[in-house]
């Protein structure tokens, strides 16, 4: 079970890229990227898009890891975390069927 930060660091090192190279592609200071990789800060959605590019990761996969990290972090301390996710899933299905039929 990897965090989005772990995935990013692993792939960056695989490709032999430096923090400052990747960070400059994202247009942020390397300090932030360092923190993102260690899960001390959350990436922005824009960061994620550019990270997928430069690290040659599948964009959707990375995005899923990013959002699931964010959501898991929001509720992991609650007893009822699993219940919340189940209800959320029902709501998503309902909304998709009833309001978002494109």
């Amino acid at each position: 079970m990897e965090t989005v930060g772990q995935i990013i660091r692993a792939k960056r090192e695989d490709l032999g890229l430096l923090l400052r190279h990747v960070a400059s592609h994202l247009d942020i200071d390397q300090a932030i990227l360092s923190k993102i990789e260690r899960n001390e800060r959350k990436a922005s959605k824009e960061n994620i898009v550019k990270l997928a590019e430069i690290l040659k990761l599948d964009h959707e996969d990375l995005y899923i890891q990013f959002m699931s990290d964010k959501i898991a972090y929001e509720i992991v301390n609650e007893e009822c975390a699993s219940k919340v996710l189940k209800v959320a899933e029902e709501k998503v299905k309902y909304l998709k069927n009833n309001y978002l039929k494109s």
Copy 2:
């Protein structure tokens, strides 16, 4: 499939309470409560606690509705919404087992 706003409005009207009465118990302007009930604004966690009190709703149930609304709203526009929730659930289980054993 009800939103947290719908639940609150229904129960408030059931109890015959006015926006301004409930809002004053929450220590907010009635304008906000009006918006919360119509899902134009999100409640804060504190709002939810006090709403459960004054509306005699089960605190955990209301909290689950509140959080699931919030999460569903965050991802409903994404293709991969269901996938995100599934991965989030795995992460929550993993974290609870490995880091939060109290």
